[in-house]
């Protein structure tokens, strides 16, 4: 394989597979997978629909070290059924999160790359989403930070967007997207006049990494390299918020203020203007360095609630 496929400095997070991301993110050689593909724990439901299975059901889970500290890692494979949650996929994530309560690692990292719940096993998938959110709340209450990293092709949609909302901190890249309903779902339900899913610039303005960072929906903005996500993860672990009543009340207040302040905006550029961004139209084309400077001046992006 060419060097660009393995060098974390050069390896594009967006381009990489779940396995490549995990291997390049963790300290070299430190990753140990649980229930890897050789165990062939596959979906019991997909054969009923005559659909192909994946030997890992589209998620890689295991332990590793990050800068010498023990972490547990889950990485979704967006290229298998859009990284969607099925029964096995969900159980592997929940098992990892519950194990963390016993193991007490320095952090749990979730590398989201998902369109949400797998339609073919929707009940199991929905249950998994709820259980994962519960498990994350337990972990955070126990003082273990849960960090979400979002920069894959499928983004973090549906239940993935909900789980992301419960994490201690999120890092996102420009290509990453965070939302619950996807662009096509909104268009189907509300019409193309409300949201034109083929206008990709609109999709990214509304759900993409830069917007999420500016409104404080994500806590770090990373370049599209594995190295940048690693640096962001280390930084976010170090400044995970406490999980107490004060934090939750501050988060509630922040969300209420957000809807009051921006609820009437028709486009993300209007929100950015109200946030004090001088030239909102220029945001999408900004380089990471220029964008970081812009985000640094936006107060909303540094709110400490979560």
């Amino acid at each position: 394989m060419s060097p660009a496929s393995t060098d974390p400095q050069a390896l594009s997070w967006y381009e990489a597979s779940a396995r490549q991301r995990v291997a390049a993110l963790a300290d070299p050689g430190s990753f140990r997978e649980f229930l890897g593909p050789t165990e062939r724990v596959t979906s019991p439901h997909l054969p009923l629909f005559d659909l192909p299975r994946a030997f890992d059901d589209g998620i890689v889970v295991g332990r590793a070290t990050l800068d010498g500290k023990p972490v547990l890692v889950a990485a979704q494979e967006g290229r298998f059924m859009g990284g969607a949650f099925g029964e096995v996929h969900g159980a592997k994530l929940i098992g990892l999160l519950r194990a963390a309560l016993d193991v007490r690692p320095a952090a749990v990292l979730i590398l989201f790359d998902t369109g949400g719940v797998r339609l073919q096993e929707a009940n199991a998938g929905e249950t998994a989403i709820a259980e994962a959110m519960r498990a994350i709340a337990d972990l955070r209450a126990a003082g273990v930070p849960v960090i979400g990293l979002i920069g894959g092709r499928a983004g973090a949609y549906g239940g993935g967007g909900l789980i992301a909302g419960t994490c201690s901190r999120l890092a996102v890249s420009e290509g990453g997207r965070i939302s619950v309903s996807g662009p096509e779902v909104i268009e189907t339900n509300k019409g193309a006049e409300e949201f034109d899913s083929r206008d990709r610039a609109l999709v990214w303005r509304t759900m993409g990494g830069k917007h999420r960072r500016l409104i404080g929906g994500a806590d770090a903005f990373a370049d599209d390299t594995v190295a940048a996500f690693r640096a962001a993860a280390l930084d976010l672990i170090a400044r995970a918020p406490a999980f107490d009543l004060a934090t939750l009340e501050a988060e509630q207040a922040r969300l209420e203020a957000r809807i009051a302040r921006f609820g009437d905006c028709r486009d993300a550029t209007e929100i950015w203007a109200r946030l004090g961004v001088n030239d909102p139209e220029a945001v999408p084309a900004m380089t990471t360095a220029a964008f970081d400077e812009t985000a640094a001046r936006v107060e909303e992006a540094h709110h400490d609630a979560r």
Partner: protein
């Protein structure tokens, strides 16, 4: 006494009738219907400019709204049937006969109307054929064309999408016809004169700018590793071996992958400066990395591409540009260039049969031809040699005096064995034959005839049809690269291995290519954003291709 000036007199009558709706040459958009009803006569041959990209859409709406009692039985002669209005005129009776080239987006509806007898079809042409007939037996009486701006004297600036306009105007204006141009804007001085004002009779200021579809943009993010593998095989097994300097690429992900591999894989093979230097090509955004890396000497364009204007303006050494700095394209000249001055055409198709005939027709669509048949054919009128052309000629012809040898143009089909939705590309019988029967066409719409095809590249390997000595070898060579399709599985394994030993069928390993090396990491750009970076911010992609 013989009347030698009847056409000229009729032209004067048309102009006089039209002037009632004009101030000088300028006609407001609201009067476009009145203008057309005044200048058109029943049975007129009319070119309603529909190009690959630029559409006279305001005039098309006006023509479709004309009163069929006044304007009827027109004979439409235009390259593109692209807008719904292009066919609406046949439903109202405004038009009856049709001669055209390409009908991509309207292919389904045109098939129905042909079947229902609403359209009397002359023929489906290649671009050059239709343009040729403009000067012989399909000369328009009235041309309705499109440009970006015009002055009050009718001097016309077409913008970078000049495309068919000069050809249409040449045939109409110099044979007693009337030329009506729609423009986005009337200005005091046009940026450059693409069509001199004395060839334009009326100028209509359109109610909204004409729409241009980004037809030639392929998003690198959607390229697969199979396409990367096929591109590697094409570069190493064909471009390098024949030393292809002058070429034309069809549109598609396979050819776009080749463009993106030149600065990486091509560089590694030491091919820079030796291949892919001179192009007849629309300004593909995926060519930007090769241009920026110094691979490309020059590119002549059929038309332009959305978002490429600023980039082209900044690279006049590479592109043909006007005194104003913007691209000057010309479909007729570029087609001629692709036919006579290029040594290779490579493109994709939907179906290939056992003789190598290929077609993009499916059962219910008459998509027409466009440029591929001219690009993808061996021009018998060619006389100048090149190493590439001669080498291909020697492979095809082994006997006879070398001084009397013809060279061969390389015509390469780059296809995956299974296409969209796992439909097999290789078939016993082309759907085009079924369609011809159903719609009463005398000729099946074959895009590239088997005897013009020299190579077929699939993910399984390269079949060199030049080296085949009889029909059986040809069939087995095609089966030999047809993978797991029915055609591929029907191969004579021993014969295919024999062909392989003679270099007629070549696998990736025969070319020294390891399929596992076919990694997206080889693409010089992996996203549209990468292309923007390569262009130094000059390429401005349309919204549908952005993810930022």
């Amino acid at each position: 006494m013989t009347d030698w000036r009847s056409e000229a007199r009729l032209r004067d009558e048309r102009l006089a009738a039209g002037r009632a709706h004009a101030a000088g040459k300028v006609v407001p958009a609201g009067a476009a219907i009145d203008l057309l009803e005044a200048i058109l006569r029943p049975g007129d041959r009319v070119c309603l400019e529909g190009d690959n990209q630029k559409q006279a859409d305001c005039l098309a709406r006006a023509l479709a709204a004309c009163d069929p009692a006044r304007v009827h039985d027109l004979h439409m002669v235009q390259s593109g049937i692209v807008l719904p209005e292009h066919l609406d005129v046949f439903e109202t009776g405004v038009a009856r006969r049709l001669d055209y080239s390409y009908s991509g987006p309207q292919g389904g509806r045109i098939a129905k109307m042909l079947y229902g007898g609403q359209i009397q079809l002359g023929a489906v042409h290649t671009y050059l054929e239709l343009f040729a007939r403009y000067f012989v037996d399909l000369t328009p009486n009235v041309a309705l064309i499109a440009g970006v701006s015009a002055d009050r004297d009718g001097n016309l600036y077409t913008g970078p999408n000049t495309e068919d306009t000069p050809t249409v105007v040449e045939a109409t204006a110099f044979k007693n016809g009337v030329v009506v141009a729609q423009v986005n804007q009337i200005v005091d001085t046009v940026p450059r004169v693409d069509i001199p004002g004395d060839r334009v009779d009326f100028v209509v200021e359109a109610d909204r700018p004409f729409y241009v579809e980004p037809l030639f943009t392929r998003d690198p993010a959607a390229m697969t590793e199979t396409q990367v593998l096929m591109a590697m095989m094409a570069i190493k097994g064909i471009y390098a071996e024949y030393g292809i300097a002058r070429l034309n690429h069809g549109i598609g992900f396979g050819t776009a992958a080749i463009e993106l591999l030149l600065p990486t894989y091509g560089e590694r093979l030491g091919l820079k400066g030796k291949i892919a230097t001179h192009w007849a090509l629309n300004p593909h955004p995926t060519l930007i990395p090769a241009i920026e890396s110094g691979w490309v000497k020059q590119v002549h364009c059929f038309g332009s591409e959305v978002g490429m204007d600023r980039y082209i303006r900044a690279r006049p050494d590479v592109f043909f540009t006007g005194a104003d700095g913007s691209l000057r394209s010309n479909r007729a000249f570029c087609q001629t260039a692709g036919l006579y001055a290029c040594d290779l055409f490579i493109g994709s198709t939907l179906q290939i049969d056992l003789m190598g005939h290929s077609s993009t027709v499916t059962r219910d669509r008459v998509a027409g031809f466009g440029g591929a048949p001219n690009m993808g054919s061996d021009p018998h009128g060619r006389r100048h040699p090149s190493d590439t052309w001669m080498k291909a000629g020697r492979e095809a012809q082994t006997v006879g005096d070398p001084l009397l040898m013809r060279g061969r143009k390389l015509v390469v089909q780059l296809v995956e064995t299974f296409g969209d939705k796992l439909v097999p590309t290789f078939v016993e019988r082309l759907d085009a034959m079924e369609l011809a029967k159903k719609t009463g066409l005398e000729l099946a719409p074959v895009m590239v005839y088997g005897d013009d095809v020299t190579h077929i590249v699939t993910e399984e390997g390269i079949a060199n049809l030049l080296l085949c000595r009889d029909a059986d070898e040809r069939e087995q060579a095609i089966r030999g690269v047809a993978g797991y399709t029915e055609i591929g599985r029907g191969r004579d394994r021993a014969k295919v291995e024999e062909l392989r030993s003679r270099g007629i069928v070549r696998r990736p390993e025969d070319l020294g290519i390891e399929p596992l090396d076919a990694d997206r990491a080889l693409l010089a750009a992996k996203s549209i954003k990468d292309l923007v970076h390569w262009s130094g911010g000059l390429y401005d992609p349309p919204a549908k291709f952005r993810n930022w």
